[in-house]
């Protein structure tokens, strides 16, 4: 079987298109590359949607945590503490079984126990908590002079927040937020490891990598392939976030721009 044929059969296997049976023996390098790459579709799906939706919620959380009103502050503090203080792995398990129980209450909850929605919600809440903390820290470290200048120009209320506070916060938070996004993409590999089952063997990249490692007893091929894909993905993320970073700092002289320093992290 040629590599082109394999590509046609398995390129969208993780979405349920193409050949139904996974390869069973005589695994070629091509098969491993294509299938693990096919699994990456799910990693990208989870990562992109969670980052985008989480971003908005994180802004809300950061502002709430700083607010003087304790009815806004306390829930935000607890939310951030709970999601940052416990392992994502356990959160996945808990959410899965919670959704399973809810399923018997009402059929509305049926899709929640499937990975595509249930795991996405957990990732969304989790990244919102982590980025909320980052944004909160950035809000605290806005230079006082900026705020005073805003007051002097007669900015107040929403306009001050929208024009001065928020852009400055973004600028300060962006390098840390980039790392958080990379970290989140790495965390998407946990989805099919926890409770969420891979329906009809449509799993993510790690799911297929482990499938190959289990079948061949040889971890030295699938995991480096996985690592290769993730390094590629990480580079793309750095590129995209770097573009946003240049946009955020477009008013600064070239030399003063803050470079994003990559700080990969482990397990959340």
């Amino acid at each position: 079987m040629s590599c082109w044929q394999t590509l046609q059969d398995y390129a969208f296997r993780s979405l349920g298109y193409g050949e139904r049976l996974l390869p069973r023996n005589d695994f070629t390098l091509c098969e491993q590359f294509v299938l693990i790459g096919s699994g990456m579709i799910w990693n990208v799906y989870f990562g992109v949607l969670a980052v985008i939706t989480g971003f908005f919620f994180a802004n809300l959380l950061a502002v709430a945590k700083l607010s003087g009103n304790r009815w806004a502050r306390k829930p935000a503090e607890w939310f951030i503490f709970i999601f940052r203080g416990s392992p994502l792995f356990i959160q996945f398990f808990f959410a899965y079984f919670l959704f399973l129980n809810l399923k018997s209450v009402s059929p509305i909850f049926d899709p929640f126990s499937a990975a595509w929605l249930g795991a996405l919600i957990v990732l969304f809440l989790n990244t919102a908590a982590y980025s909320g903390e980052i944004f909160h820290g950035a809000l605290l470290s806005i230079p006082r002079g900026d705020m005073e200048a805003a007051d002097a120009y007669g900015f107040s209320g929403w306009k001050k927040f929208r024009k001065i506070t928020w852009p400055t916060m973004m600028r300060l938070a962006w390098p840390a937020y980039t790392n958080e996004a990379i970290f989140l993409f790495h965390a998407t590999t946990l989805v099919y490891f926890s409770g969420f089952p891979a329906w009809r063997q449509q799993g993510d990249a790690l799911y297929y990598a482990r499938y190959f490692a289990d079948k061949t007893f040889n971890p030295f091929i699938p995991y480096p392939i996985l690592a290769f894909y993730f390094i590629l993905l990480t580079l793309v993320i750095i590129k995209v976030f770097g573009l946003v970073n240049t946009y955020l700092n477009r008013h600064l002289p070239q030399a003063n721009r803050r470079k994003i320093r990559l700080r990969p992290n482990l397990i959340r």
């Binding site: 392992p87 398990f93 079984f97 790495h186 490891f193 490692a213 007893f217 482990l266 397990i267 959340r268």
Partner: protein
């Protein structure tokens, strides 16, 4: 019963891994600082490679790789006259006396072996992280301190052990405490490494029980078991936060940092 013991397993893992990975990190950082170039490349390479690879893939990879590595070494030592290739298609075959642990050994040896593989894996990964933190900390001790030491006629080695190492901890502490939090949250991954930890037991005990198999029939309780785990981890994180704050206070005493300065003024 196993459920409660498994909490002990997690705590034991933390207690063993923390010092081991700290020493891995210390040696890594020492190697990275070395003036002998190949040694410094080795240290820097170790730190860079482990940090660059995505999370759990590393755990999955290392356990099998270590296991096979050990078996391969034993195989070459104990069975030199074995002629068949070790990788036969998709099988990994070594002679019986090279199996780790031996097929004949009792159950607890298998468990201990699995556990120590897990500890080693954790230590290698977190050692790299700790190495990075310590390397940074060693570099942030004010240069003047080392120069003073040299002015007093200390050798390179003496300056390292007597001046640099005692002072670097306060710089390393924020990174190390962060690492400790990450380590706590990494423990459920033991489950992936085949150790019967709390996640394993929560799944086992929580699953539906019928009157046929046990004296205590109940429905699907896994949700509550995992809620308990969630609370356990939250409490543990909180306690660690408080303890680490105390250590920070203690270590900043008399240091030329903002924290130390604040303490001096308050006194």
């Amino acid at each position: 019963m196993g459920f409660y013991v498994s909490f002990g397993t997690v705590l034991l893992l933390l207690a063993v891994t923390a010092p081991v990975s700290l020493s891995f990190g210390f040696f890594g950082a020492m190697a990275a600082r070395a003036r002998f170039a190949p040694l410094s490349w080795l240290g820097k390479g170790y730190i860079a490679i482990v940090r660059g690879v995505p999370d759990i893939a590393f755990f999955l990879f290392f356990v099998i790789a270590l296991d096979q590595g050990i078996e391969y070494l034993l195989h070459s030592v104990r069975c030199p006259d074995w002629t068949d290739p070790i990788r036969q298609g998709s099988d990994f075959v070594v002679c019986d006396s090279a199996k780790m642990p031996l097929n004949s050994s009792p159950q607890w040896i298998h468990e201990v072996y699995g556990f120590s593989l897990a500890v080693l894996t954790f230590a290698i990964v977190f050692g790299a992280f700790a190495g990075n933190v310590l390397f940074g900390a060693m570099n942030s001790v004010p240069r003047g301190q080392i120069e003073t030491a040299e002015a007093y006629g200390m050798t390179h080695r003496q300056a390292f052990w007597r001046i640099l190492v005692p002072q670097m901890w306060i710089y390393a502490l924020p990174g190390l405490s962060n690492l400790w939090m990450v380590l706590i949250k990494a423990t459920p991954l033991l489950f992936l490494l085949g150790v019967e930890d709390i996640v394993y037991w929560a799944r086992e005990l929580g699953a539906s029980k019928t009157a046929r198999f046990t004296d205590y029939p109940h429905g699907d309780w896994r949700m509550w078991y995992f809620l308990a785990l969630l609370i356990f981890y939250l409490a543990f994180t909180k306690v660690s936060e408080v303890v680490l704050e105390r250590i920070t206070k203690k270590l900043s005493h008399g240091q030329a940092t903002v924290g130390g300065e604040a303490q001096r003024k308050a006194a």
